[in-house]
Assembly symmetry: C2
């Protein structure tokens, strides 16, 4: 049992040294998480919401959910007053909702650099990159299996992206590392190559435990019980099924006071009814149940009401993205989450396109806009998602990340101050004049308009003479530049060694498993 | 004076015959205009709106507007109680608003095929294609000056586009036809190659008169006084200037009972202050003044409150599109128009990109989404706009037109009927099952999800084997197919001959003018 001792030693020295190092870190440009000053879009009225809530209660009471291979969960549910038969759990009306009440409305997820701490819930919006693809694509090399080298590149890109607040989790699957060990390499990359907050592993309960242990090394063991350092993604096996793997990870995180996103993962028409209202009913029943279960494990632990919902192409069976049905479900789910006083996760730069082309951008923009207005608090897949989540795209990562700046500016709302009203400028310029030279413009032009760092605003002739690059080519150039210019944020070397030591020993303790 | 007589003869026979022909027309798929069942997005609260309204009143009272070279307009304003000095018109507080009150809240613009009539105002949304570019672009031939052949192609594409309700106006500038005659060829194309409603010419008062005269031939002279057959675009010379050309066209249309869109055309920072609130103040002052003037000309004539506002790149001076500031102004202007009980025009698939690439699509989708939620009633430039409006793009036309289907589906809202609730399906499938085969899915799958007619939903392997086309290539193939398959809607040959005769005689009566 040398691990905890080694860990503790480095933890103690590492904690203070890391903090000192961070104070002298070279500053990259990083926007704070969004604090919305604009209203949410509410597609349903109170009557519609009450109808869906009543239906969700009926689903939980009459149909119930399953917690398979999880006797501990069934015992918890029985103790809480549920009707448990076999692995089927039926919840009396109102039970799930009342259990959700102990979850915090907002919480802080801390980062290695305190300036990168994020508040999740309320009127905030935290943007995190793509999660989960087994493939990557870039302009030079096309589509290929992702490796740990790709993973590290994406950590670097997220770190350098001004409008991305979070390092995310499985930015791509490092398929060149054994399945039972890749979480260690991924966490090490998040912890050392970035200073933004990150997500823990959920693919097995013991990998969640590893994630927590690595946080204890990074942040100090005592702190992990007191603060939230990870927000991890717990998918529900929709419809209405909670498997032991995901629930095991949820239990580990809940007991350690770490946040989880409890998220139905729904391709509408396959894992839920083809209708918006039916899907919302199921989403609410599932999310409430998972969140209630987290609160049964550890009342007060931070959770997020998740809704990953897309539609299906009934001709081919393919999942489709950026569709109107998905936006409607996002808006409705946001309203339902707010009525539970819970942080809400949905959205992302989702698309089905195989390339970062116009299709990808229409589909992504449709969902990004919907998510901002729909009150999303935590947006996974905010950049880099391609091909229905099968591919992490280098070029799309920077294209999406640039568009996230649009969300920041929209969320700032309308300045109605005297300066914002600009009555002096209108009087100064008068009929037929122009504003370019007036005092108000000179005083405000630097911050007046959001400006891309990537898209092309040049006149046609200038652009054509320079080669007439399309968005993909511009994005490729930006990726290359960012990866060349990347410098790691300072980190205490003792902590790095302790983390590396932990990873080496955990890797040595198991045989490689693939698949 | 043979023109009216010839016109009248054909008009009379044409009216009935055209109606008969339309009854036997081969049916193309054409969605009716959108009737919103979803709420509008309201970015400003009542206090903010009242502040901007008070500021706009102050602008009109203290600064005023100019009506240059237009003694008739100055006389009308004087009679209405305005303070007129030189060409400067100052409006006492509340005058503009009270004059706007005679404008209808909604009106019907009639089409040659009555099934294509559109209602403008209220909860409706009418989608019209790009307006004004001097260039066109397609994949084979790149960027080039537009010709009348291009113009006719775009009329055909708009006619064949299911989600496009309107044939628009200057789909591109036919630069191979003299400036003083091209309106005749454009109107002839709208009237004969499509049966959707269209816009009249505004580039000179006499061209508005020609447009009205051609409608008298097409629809019957008596009908033109009774019904609205054209909605035409009157831009204001922002800031606060109303030129005699545009006002002359407005006067002609207003007196003939034809609709006009009174629209500030603003590149923020150049023609208006760099702030959102300042721009909204100016937009309101300008639109109210123009609409009030139309009501002075002919109380009760149909008008639309327009707001074409974009921002500027302060580094290069280039106008920029799909930006957050433009969306905020669109939302605010929609609220201000609704408080005047006026139909609202804004939005479009606006972009600055030189190609129909990811940039074009992000920017376009940003504005399309904002316009739907912002309560736009008439959306010009809903498809085909490229390069800041300098180019009508064939490929982008069909890409955008496909995305307009998303708006239709979003606007339909959430079905909360028993079928929409799908409680039977959730019970039938149960935990861990799947919905693909259940009865509810079978009963609803055909209409459950919006489906693209253009974008690619195939799996990677299938798509790659088929050549791995990007969106531009897919769009190009669709353009070619639509133009090959095009069949003109039936039209009375007597009317066509009368229109052609009118065009020939009007062309013969003037020398060609270019520029």
């Amino acid at each position: 049992m040398s691990e905890p001792v080694t860990g503790a030693r480095h933890r103690r020295s590492g904690g203070g040294a890391a903090r000192r190092a961070e104070r002298t870190a070279p500053r990259i440009e990083a926007a704070p998480f969004i604090r919305r000053k604009i209203p949410n879009y509410e597609i349903l009225d109170d009557e519609g919401l009450a109808l869906i809530e009543a239906n969700a209660d009926r689903v939980l009471e009459e149909i119930g959910v399953t917690f398979a291979d999880n006797p501990g969960a069934l015992a918890r549910w029985r103790d809480a007053g549920a009707d448990v038969r076999g692995d089927r759990v039926r919840l009396p009306k109102g039970l799930a909702r009342s259990l959700c009440a102990t979850a915090p409305r907002t919480f802080i997820q801390r980062a290695r650099n305190p300036e990168r701490n994020v508040e999740i819930g309320g009127r905030s919006l935290v943007l995190a990159p793509v999660y989960g693809p087994p493939f990557v694509r870039d302009m030079e090399n096309g589509r290929r299996y992702a490796t740990i080298a790709d993973f590290r590149n994406f950590v670097k890109l997220a770190y350098m992206s001004k409008w991305v607040h979070h390092s995310g989790g499985t930015l791509c699957e490092p398929t060149d590392v054994a399945v039972n060990k890749r979480h260690l390499d991924m966490l090490l990359a998040h912890m050392t190559l970035s200073d933004k907050p990150f997500m823990g592993s959920v693919t097995a309960p013991e990998r969640a435990v590893d994630s927590i242990e690595m946080c204890r090394i990074l942040y100090g063991a005592d702190n992990v019980g007191l603060n939230c350092y990870m927000t991890s993604l717990i998918n529900i096996n929709s419809p209405l099924a909670f498997d032991a793997t995901m629930m095991g990870a949820l239990e580990a995180y809940a007991l350690a006071g770490q946040a989880t996103i409890v998220s139905p993962f729904i391709v509408g028409g396959a894992m839920a009814p083809v209708s918006v209202a039916g899907t919302l009913t199921q989403v609410l029943a599932e999310a409430m149940t998972g969140i209630a279960y987290a609160q049964l494990c550890n009342p007060g632990c931070p959770v997020i009401f998740g809704a990953f919902v897309t539609s299906i192409d009934m001709n081919s069976g393919a999942p489709t993205f950026g569709t109107p049905e998905a936006s409607k479900i996002l808006w409705g789910a946001g309203q339902l989450a707010r009525r539970l006083n819970l942080p809400f996760r949905s959205g992302g730069a989702l698309c089905g396109s195989k390339l970062p082309d116009a299709q990808a951008a229409y589909e992504s923009a449709n969902t990004l806009q919907a998510a901002l207005l729909g009150g999303v608090n935590f947006m996974l897949h905010a950049c880099g998602w391609l091909e229905g989540g099968l591919v992490s795209s280098y070029e799309k990562f920077v294209l999406d990340a640039d568009q996230l700046g649009v969300l920041h500016s929209l969320a700032a709302g309308v300045d109605l101050s005297e300066n914002g009203q600009a009555m002096g400028a209108i009087a100064e310029v008068g009929p037929g004049g122009h504003f370019l030279g007036c005092q108000h413009t000179q005083d405000n032009f630097k911050s007046a308009f959001w400006r891309t760092e990537l898209l092309d605003y040049r006149p046609f002739e200038t652009w054509a003479e320079a080669g007439g690059a399309d968005s993909m080519a511009l994005a490729n150039a930006r990726v290359r530049r960012l990866l060349t210019e990347y410098e790691a944020p300072p980190v205490d070397q003792g902590v790095v060694e302790a983390l590396e030591d932990f990873v080496a020993r955990r890797k040595a303790s198991e045989r490689d498993a693939f698949g």
